[in-house]
């Protein structure tokens, strides 16, 4: 009915967070006195947050199309057909709190897994680079 609204709301929050974080990361200056070989590049957290934004915005947009397809979203106020009568409204809110929240949680959990895997890979690569430089 309107389950995509929950991940879309999360996407708004994470997009703002990514923008703020990116500004903060740009303002930070990094100085390094060693050789270029000793520099280990890491994916910034704002970029990793960008993955979550793409997952949430993309998923919400495609799900919104499905809701338009089924006539659950209309281009006139109140935009959601279920918001018209109280019974459908209650059903819609129930769906948002169950299906919508689960969608947002699953996408966030998958993203957290991606972040953990990329951090582990980056640490491994850094260790290998340091070992190679010592030799």
């Amino acid at each position: 009915m309107a389950c995509f609204i929950v991940p879309a709301a999360e996407a708004i929050v994470t997009t703002i967070a990514a923008k703020v974080l990116k500004k903060h990361e740009v303002s930070q200056k990094i100085s390094h006195s060693g050789s270029h070989d000793e520099i280990i590049e890491k994916t910034s957290f704002s970029r990793k947050l960008g993955w979550l934004n793409n997952l949430l915005w993309g998923g919400s947009a495609l799900l919104a199309l499905e809701h338009v397809w089924h006539g659950e979203v209309v281009p006139w106020f109140p935009f959601l057909t279920a918001a018209g009568d109280p019974e459908s409204k209650a059903e819609m809110l129930h769906e948002m709190s169950t299906v919508g929240v689960t969608m947002a949680l699953l996408v966030t959990a998958v993203w957290a897994g991606m972040v953990i895997v990329s951090s582990v890979l980056e640490k491994k690569a850094a260790k290998l680079k340091l070992a190679a430089n010592k030799k």
Binding site: L56, G58, A61, L65, W69, T102, V107
Partner: protein
């Protein structure tokens, strides 16, 4: 059917992204994340639907399957349109910018 088509689109776009990694000039990574996001969300939808319908979930009517097929293809097209718009705005190869500048000159 919509979920299945989106999952296939996600797998294909991920393979294309992986083939060209770490170079992602064409932002194929974004396209694959769009499809994976939708696939995850429709998986949740399917689980809730299965909990409600049980075995009936696996026996959809032919008319519903056809409708879902068209919806799946439309969803894939929308994903491609979103990706294309992002690609043209970011313009990593400077093609759009170059074309606009050459017209002005």
């Amino acid at each position: 059917m919509t979920l299945l088509i989106t999952v296939f689109a996600a797998i294909i776009s991920t393979i294309v992204w992986y083939k060209h990694a770490p170079n992602d000039d064409m932002h194929v990574g974004t396209l694959s994340l769009i499809y994976w996001g939708a696939s995850l969300m429709w998986t949740v939808d399917a689980v809730f639907e299965y909990a409600e319908l049980k075995e009936e979930f696996f026996h959809p009517a032919a008319q519903d399957m056809l409708n879902d097929l068209f919806l799946g293809l439309t969803v894939v097209a929308l994903g491609l349109i979103i990706w294309l718009i992002k690609l043209l705005i970011k313009d990593p190869k400077g093609v759009v910018k170059g074309a606009l500048l050459s017209k002005k000159n």
